[in-house]
């Protein structure tokens, strides 16, 4: 249970995962896949939190991860409800076609 690697390794991995998530948000057009990329970015931030908590020998970072997971869960519930509702009206979830507020 004692990882002796410097914290920079974990922060670097977290940065790579965050960048890949941001690329997913920018490139993909399927609204659900965009959502999953956002989840991956949150996850990368969580990894940085836990790595810093381990380096500082303080529990507060892990508590923040707890709250981030709770916020992500509620975000997914509301977001997927919105996607289902958009699909009912437009029969499509391509985000390029969500360009009108009515109809």
């Amino acid at each position: 249970m004692n990882s002796l690697l410097p914290v920079q390794y974990y922060i670097g991995l977290s940065a790579i995962l965050f960048t890949l998530g941001a690329l997913g948000v920018l490139i993909r057009r399927n609204a659900i896949v965009v959502f999953m990329s956002v989840e991956m970015m949150l996850n990368a931030a969580n990894l940085a939190f836990v790595a810093f908590a381990r380096a500082a020998n303080s529990m507060d970072g892990q508590i923040f991860v707890f709250f981030v997971i709770a916020v992500a869960a509620s975000e997914v519930a509301v977001g997927l409800a919105l996607i289902v509702e958009i699909f009912r009206t437009k029969h499509n979830i391509n985000i390029d076609q969500m360009n009108s507020l009515r109809n």
């Binding site: 249970m1 004692n2 990882s3 002796l4 410097p6 914290v7 920079q8 974990y10 670097g12 940065a15 790579i16 995962l17 965050f18 890949l20 998530g21 941001a22 690329l23 997913g24 920018l26 490139i27 057009r29 399927n30 659900i32 896949v33 999953m36 990329s37 989840e39 991956m40 969580n46 990894l47 836990v50 908590a53 381990r54 380096a55 020998n57 529990m59 507060d60 892990q62 508590i63 991860v65 707890f66 709250f67 997971i69 709770a70 916020v71 992500a72 869960a73 509620s74 975000e75 519930a77 509301v78 997927l80 409800a81 919105l82 996607i83 289902v84 509702e85 979830i93 391509n94 390029d96």
Partner: protein, 170 residues
């Protein structure tokens, strides 16, 4: 030390490969499965970083509940495959350029502004255990904890209201 490096880079390779798989997979179900693999590898990192409770939370909430919700919605809508008709042709190269810039910035900050490469020392007894997390949640972080419960309730009510079929009032 060598074992630690092998474990780290093996897991990091799995995490990055599954993230790239999420980016490139045409089928949304495959993207979701790649994301589950990514969550599991990250939760193993949490175990390595002396956060076993967070690791189990990650497995149950993220890889369990949230991804099941995703897969359920994908299959409910039948949205596995969508026509990849790019409306804006310049979007992809611009996205790659911005991603490279973001990665360079993050790498610069990590390497040059991250402080000296400290090797994490030994943890205190019970570090990361559910007992200590519960103690912190119900003492130091009691108010945020209550606010999170209200947020979850609001999200639940919101999801139900959004997906409820409305009666047509003519």
């Amino acid at each position: 030390m060598v074992v630690n490096l092998i474990v780290f880079f093996g897991l990091a390779l799995a995490a990055v490969a599954s993230a790239i798989g999420l980016l490139l997979s045409k089928n949304a179900v495959y993207a979701a499965l790649n994301l589950i693999l990514n969550f599991v590898t990250v939760s193993i990192f949490y175990v390595l970083l002396a956060a076993p409770f967070i690791a189990l939370l990650q497995i149950t909430v993220y890889a369990g509940a949230i991804m099941v919700l995703f897969l359920f919605v994908i299959m409910l809508l039948g949205a596995e495959k969508l026509s990849a008709g790019a409306v804006l042709p310049w979007q992809r190269p611009v996205a790659f350029g911005l991603g490279v810039i973001l990665l360079i910035e993050a790498g610069y900050v990590t390497i040059f502004r991250g402080g000296p490469a400290v090797e994490a020392g030994a943890t205190t007894a019970g570090f990361g255990s559910p007992a200590i997390i519960g103690d912190l949640l119900f003492n130091t972080y009691l108010l945020p904890f209550e606010i999170i419960s209200i947020l979850l309730l609001a999200a639940m009510v919101g999801a139900i209201v959004l997906t409820k079929k409305r009666k047509q009032h003519e």
